[in-house]
Symmetry: C2
Subunit: 216 residues, 2 copies
């Protein structure tokens, strides 16, 4: 797959089938992840693949609680606003709510969960390139994924399920549920680059406009 197709069509894919992901795909995903750069080439990361049915059930219970917390706290205003309006942002957010609710009901059926842990990386700049590489490689193999940090609402319980030592400084960066999509790949709609980009100083136009995606 061309790099540009991967960059443009790897979007959050939450609705997937329970079909197992073959070992050779799993290997490519992890081997792509560890090629990413990290600060001082520290590679202070651990990855965990979860496919055990009991582990997934336990994590599914925790995920369900975490999503309830998410809607009730971080996104409370957006949920309320999205329910009461029909502007494009509200319509889009309702779409996300539906998608996440699907994940909430079906979490235990994801055939594979990829967890990433990091240590001593305050910014996230030394772990998320690796995570995103894993997701891009998965995409190239036809596997959809999404990145979630919500299990941090139940960090202690998740560490207990996964057996992560609590005293070694490891931080759970995210969980990436994976599977073969039920829907189609497509280019996600975003605010155009020139709306969110400047040149040389804050507020100065970047100097070009990109009204349509540059791919395909």
């Amino acid at each position: 797959m061309d790099i540009r197709e991967a960059l443009y069509t790897t979007r959050a894919m939450r609705r997937v089938t329970p079909d197992a992901i073959p070992e050779d795909v799993q290997m490519r995903v992890l081997d792509a992840a560890i090629r990413a750069p990290s600060g001082g080439n520290g590679q202070s990361w651990r990855f965990m693949l979860v496919d055990d049915i009991e582990q997934r059930a336990k994590l599914g219970d925790l995920y369900r609680e975490c999503i309830d917390v998410l809607w009730a706290t971080v996104y409370a205003d957006r949920v309320e606003s999205a329910g009461a309006n029909d502007d494009p942002a509200s319509v889009e957010f309702r779409r996300i709510i539906n998608s996440v609710n699907w994940a909430q009901e079906n979490f235990a059926t994801y055939p594979l969960l990829l967890f990433a842990f990091d240590r001593g990386d305050g910014s996230g700049g030394s772990i998320y390139p690796a995570v995103w590489s894993a997701m891009l490689q998965a995409r190239a193999d036809g596997v959809g994924s999404s990145l979630t940090t919500v299990l941090n609402f139940k960090n202690e319980e998740t560490f207990e399920v996964l057996g992560v030592p609590a005293d070694k400084g490891w931080k759970m960066s995210c969980c990436v549920p994976m599977g073969y999509p039920t829907g189609k790949w497509g280019v996600a709609k975003r605010k155009p680059a020139h709306w969110v980009s400047y040149r040389n100083t804050w507020g100065t136009p970047v100097g070009f406009e990109i009204d349509e995606p540059l791919w395909p």
Copy 2:
């Protein structure tokens, strides 16, 4: 370019020429960045391209001071250890020191700096996928890059140079100096995936071994 070539060969490229990066490449880089997913599709990001010669000179001065701080603080132990040993990790770290020292001396000659800012993203999981997409797209266009967070040592001064409002909640995620490499692209050596990966519980082998990179 194939996605796998990009994922395997996009490594920190600090030694670059001062040749300008054409506008169409800049457009592809930013348009790739904004396609990345972000939490709740929030897209709470700003990007800034810096190519003005005076701005680069000012930032080069700040970068020089920040690298001095970096060696004297975060990496003090590794610098000392690398100077006194000849094990592979020390040799590798001396290579990084030399590369960063090159960047320190030549920062103002980078033809293009890409800054990324985010707001309300504690983990970094909503900005670094976009940054890494920018770097991968740059790679596909033959442009090398590296990701640095060290300017945060002089955050206030950097914000002043760039005119970033201090009171709007924006956080500087990183700076990505870009340019055409003087050296060659290659697959970076990393600790193998199975050394840093588990299955189902912490410490349980992932179930396969990957002794050589799976690409090319």
